[in-house]
Amino acid sequence: MPETAPRTGAAAITITRPTRVDARALLASPWLPWALQLVALVLWVTALPHVRVDAMTDLGLVSVLPARVFAALVLLALAMVAAVTAPTFRPATIAANVALFLVMVYALPALVEEAPRFSTTYVHLGFIETIERRLELFPQIDARFEWPVFFILAGYLRDVAGIADLAPLTPWVPLLSNVLYLGALAVLLRSFTTDARLRWLACWLFVATNWIGQDYLSPQGFNILLYLAIASLVVRFFRARAGDRGAVAAIRERLVRPAAARFGAVRRALRLRDDRRDAAAAVGRRTAAAPVANLPGLLLVVVLLYTISTASHQLTPFVILGGVTALVGFRRITPRGLPLLLGLILGAWLSYMATTYLAGHLPAIVRDIGRADAVATASVAERIAGSAEHQAVVWLRLLFSLGVWLLAALGVLRRLRTGRLDLSAILLAGVPFLALGLQSYGGEILLRVYLFALPFVAFLAAAAFRPRRGRWHPLDVGSLAAVAVALAILLPIARYGNERADAFTHAELAAAELLYARAEPGSTIVTVNHNAPIGYRDLERYQYMRVHDQVLDGDGAAVVDELHAVDSDVTYLFLSRGQLAYESLFYELDAGTWDDVFAEVAAHPGLELVHESTDARIYRMQLGEAGS
């Protein structure tokens, strides 16, 4: 800005100060998020060629990611904050941000790893191949054959699309799944709030906190989509009218008002806004001269979605039933007979289509009912094991999850202080926790609880930073930036913390191909644990056995005894890098013990080495030639 100096003589001296950059204007610029996103993309793309997956430690993928990847994610998080707090909200900016975040995190393994990850992916490919080839089910081999509709669907799509091999496509399934989740989540969020910034922030938090990794080619990944679609439809189109009295009125009288009074917000609490009004506003905002939605038809769609869920996954239908029952019980939605109808569908499937599994496992299923504390403790305690680095990852996941839940709790309280009770979201976030009292689900129930609650928890967590429409408080912006940056850094660590075991190599895949090309139908395939890229074809033609306990004991003779005890003429022992990584990660087995055990096994006269590569070995043993 030019400034004129006092006249001291005939000539006036003009002093020019450098122009100051207006920081506030810069931060408010619509170009700032785009610039940050562009820089983030460049950093990320240029970092990818430097990822050396084979140098991974027990910290997982993070141990081989260049710092530029994290810098890119941090910039992306800051761009999101700039976009969502900008004076003029531009949905396209944050939509691009969410899309970039999805690609940078969820497509990362597909771009840097040699082969499809997760041993379970290969088993699911095996279900698809076996069902399509044999056109029959084999529940005596695996219980998942009694919930086969996801595998039937995948086989149908593979066949009609003319895809020879599904495996190369599977690394991209998490990215696609999350794009589809976001679609259904967007509908759900429109029912919860009319505030577009809050909705987009919730979407961002959903993708930034989904560390569970169940979005691969799996029935549970497909069922999350069905769950979100059902929740969206019932909350949005079957809402009860605001003012309906019921359990919500009791809650408001007994819990919410006293709680709000403690926060010194009595007057606001007395005017608590019913979330059904928000839903009504969201649906009815643009209603002029609009046709009416066909509710009976939509109800049939809900029943269709639920039936497919019931026929494709063991756990999700129970969570959906619980959620719908809670919504009906608290008079959030109107079709009061819906829980009964859904219960009948579930009961019918279990009674007629899942009888083989139930007959053999009923005691195990009912054993955990009512033991919520034991189930939760086991789910946590059993996971804090393995190498020191792996334990650090597990602790991080626990703290990450607790942090997200605490944010959601804070969001509930902040919304209450502004007079809003998001009961539908609270119910749907809370119902999955009831599963703790029903099933341990093989020690995985806490993971599933986190995942089922996440869409609703993400909304409530977003509300912690933006409890109401209007101007952003600087403290909210600062805390949002801090949390967003933390999540962007921690998500890859939590999500890919097991990657040393989850990833597979070309050499392992080649060995598996050779195994199936050579193994005679009816032979037994022995592995140390499940963590190998096998089972993707001819599931019904082979028996599978594991010698995990014997290897962990360092007892090579016991491994040989197990090979003798199999019920087939020919046995193949399949050893691979991923199995050793699994034992090392989760049981601290060192490579020396592994080598000693299998040196002892290899010395057995009946064992023939039929394949050896950098990452795999295959031994063959024929009964009668095995020696004593």
């Binding site: 039937i152 003319g162 679609g183 439809l233 649906v283 905002r285």
Partner: protein
């Protein structure tokens, strides 16, 4: 029991038409036994979007909701068709796919006629 829905937008119909066109293309290629990326993309795009989008529009969901929920509804319809064929002992993916394409075309025609 009725709910007032939002107006249909301008973009939904062209997307539904494009999805159905891809569905028909995929069906022709599948019937002819021509493999390749065109068939894969056409079939998968239709299967994820077409049946659900046309059904949602027929149920008079607003444009955005119909599009956002197209994938789960489409995949559920495909799963129902494939499972029905499997359990009936009449496994024929191309026939199931053809039925879904036909159903989507009928719903699209109803949608177009209703708007005129």
């Amino acid at each position: 029991m009725t709910v007032t829905a939002t107006r249909h937008g301008q973009l939904g119909l062209p997307v539904a038409v494009a999805a159905c066109a891809l569905g028909v293309l995929g069906l022709l290629l599948a019937v002819a036994g021509i493999d390749g990326p065109v068939r894969t993309v056409a079939v998968l795009a239709f299967s994820v979007v077409g049946p659900g989008l046309t059904l949602n529009r027929a149920l008079r969901l607003d444009d955005a909701t119909a599009a956002l929920l197209a994938a789960p509804v489409s995949l559920a319809l495909a799963a129902a068709g494939a499972a029905a064929a499997f359990y009936a002992g009449a496994w024929s993916p191309v026939v199931v796919y053809g039925a879904l394409v036909a159903g989507a075309l009928v719903l699209l025609a109803v949608d177009v006629i209703r708007r005129r």
